[in-house]
């Protein structure tokens, strides 16, 4: 039985697609057959982050409209045999999605995959609701900043009232908080909300804290999910998050600001 994980946030630009790519890749690296679906119909991004934009022939909406079958639309990752992506359509909008259509595709994917990652579009409208409707778990991506935290709270409310699990009174969607763009130095300086602040406001378990890192931008531009960069702090933090998703207990890293070395202090470097 496949597990459906939605990556959502409410607010845009907090790192949903980066996270979907990293977590999906991480699960595949651990040997789990995983597919990442881009629900952001009209604003195709996932294929860029995954570095397979030139291989997109058919997309999610084509499969939905039965213009192509699932195997034609799925793109196999070049780095890992367990990893597939289902790209969004660039030329359509979110109205092209129907609940029955989405369910049919998810059911078909569930036959062959262990994990289905739904990369949600920003906002709380139809597209986002469609992405979270069938979810078993949700990774709520949040930046340590008040508006992002409030939007996450909003989307948590929707998860608990408008998902299939909520509507059928089944066991509620399992929620995980993933904090991205975390900068311990700025937290120390009082410019940014701390992990504790965000956890206190949202009151859901923390699955990962991704430090603000140059590696993330570089990875996006190169089309290589940051988790493949095992030397980067962000890559390692995502890898820890995957472990926690799989039920392992891992200590949190990168929460403290780096102590300035003697030389750096002497030279007055930032």
């Amino acid at each position: 039985m496949a597990e459906i994980i939605v990556v959502t946030s409410g607010k845009g630009g907090v790192g949903k697609t980066t996270t979907s790519a990293a977590i999906g890749s991480g699960l595949a690296i651990r040997g789990h057959k995983t597919v990442i679906i881009d629900f952001d119909v009209g604003l195709r991004n996932l294929d860029l982050i995954m570095g397979c934009e030139r291989r997109v022939v058919y997309d999610f909406v084509n499969v939905l409209n039965k213009e192509a079958n699932l195997n034609q639309a799925l793109i196999k990752d070049k780095r890992n045999d367990n990893l597939f992506i289902l790209p969004a359509s660039q030329t359509r909008d979110k109205d092209a999605l129907t609940q029955e259509g989405v369910q049919t595709i998810l059911n078909e994917l569930a036959e062959t995959f262990e994990y289905i990652i739904c990369d949600s579009p920003a906002g709380i409208e139809k597209g986002a609701q469609m992405a979270l409707y069938y979810a078993d778990r949700a990774i709520v991506v949040t930046n340590p900043e008040v508006s992002s935290v409030r939007d996450s709270d909003r989307i948590l409310g929707i998860l608990q009232s408008k998902s299939l699990r909520a509507e059928t009174n089944a066991e509620p969607v399992k929620e995980h908080l993933l904090l991205t763009r975390y900068n311990p130095q700025r937290v120390e300086d009082g410019e940014m909300l701390s992990v504790a602040d965000v956890v206190d406001i949202l009151a859901i378990p923390l699955v990962g804290v991704i430090p603000e890192s140059e590696a993330v931008l570089k990875a996006s531009n190169q089309g290589e999910p940051v988790i493949f960069d095992g030397t980067s702090d962000a890559g390692q933090a995502y890898s820890d998050a995957v472990s926690r998703l799989l039920g392992e207990e891992v200590d949190f890293r990168f929460l403290e600001a780096e102590k300035k070395g003697f030389l750096k202090r002497l030279l007055g470097a930032k």
Binding site: I124, R150, D153, R154, G157, Q160, S161, D200, I201, A203
Partner: protein, 238 residues
């Protein structure tokens, strides 16, 4: 098919009473506007009975059709007048609204004639209206609204910023209260709000409200209760 077109039934309808003390177009408009802005959703299309019981007898005449018009302008639904002085009756009747006699709103026994010698066995079918409290176990998130109609509301989790919880009775929150809590929304001035950690955006009891700015100065980030005494909200640590 039944032949009867209708059936007459007794019923009790909950309404607001607008107790009029004095009337001038400007003051009335301004004050009503302020009151309604405090809770626009709450007052929207609410039925209202205008009571003249406390209307100062030397306060002059009232333009009733203007008064009714103003109420409607603010999306209230004036239904009737009560406790009307005789000098106003014809003016009110011209507005088309009902004049409720005081007798109708008071239960009196004067119409009941008991024939002597006849044993009257009154069987009172006591109707127990049990309004069990509404219990919420999961967090109430931003954008969500929970209303306990005719009962207390008990929340065993947090109420987030941007969330709203309402009850006709008391509200108990065994978590952080960061959103809005409105107790006694149908006018029960005895209702209270209790919370384990007060960080509310707004607290209201029977329409009397207080914002976080004021709450911060009184009781903040600790267990608290809020109640109404003589039209004044009291906030206390518990």
């Amino acid at each position: 098919m039944s032949e009867s077109c209708f059936q007459l039934k007794g019923s009790v309808v909950t309404t607001f009473i607008l107790e009029l003390y004095q009337y001038s177009r400007e003051n009335f408009t301004q004050q009503l506007k302020i009151k309604i802005q405090q809770a626009p959703e709450f007052f929207h299309q609410s039925p209202v009975v205008i009571s003249l019981e406390k209307f100062e007898s030397d306060a002059g005449d009232i333009d009733f059709s203007e008064l009714v018009g103003l109420c409607r302008q603010f999306e209230l639904q004036p239904m009737a007048f009560k406790s009307v002085d005789e000098r106003f009756v014809s003016a009110i009747k011209s507005t088309g609204l009902a004049v409720l006699s005081d007798a109708a709103s008071r239960a009196t026994a004067k119409d009941v004639e008991i024939e002597p010698g006849v044993a009257v066995e009154t069987v009172v079918a006591e109707k127990i209206i049990s309004s069990t409290s509404k219990i919420i176990t999961r967090p109430v998130r931003s954008g969500q609204q929970v209303y306990a109609e005719g009962s207390d509301l008990i929340i065993l989790a947090q109420v987030s910023e941007g969330a709203e919880v309402l009850a006709d009775g008391n509200i108990h929150i065994y978590g952080n209260l960061r959103g809005r809590a409105l107790a006694g929304v149908k006018g029960d001035a005895g209702a209270r709000v209790f919370c384990k950690n007060m960080e509310a955006e707004l607290i209201s009891i029977a329409g009397n409200f207080m914002l976080s700015d004021a709450l911060r100065k009184l009781v903040w980030k600790q267990a608290a209760q809020v109640y109404l005494d003589e039209q004044t909200l009291h906030v206390e640590a518990v």
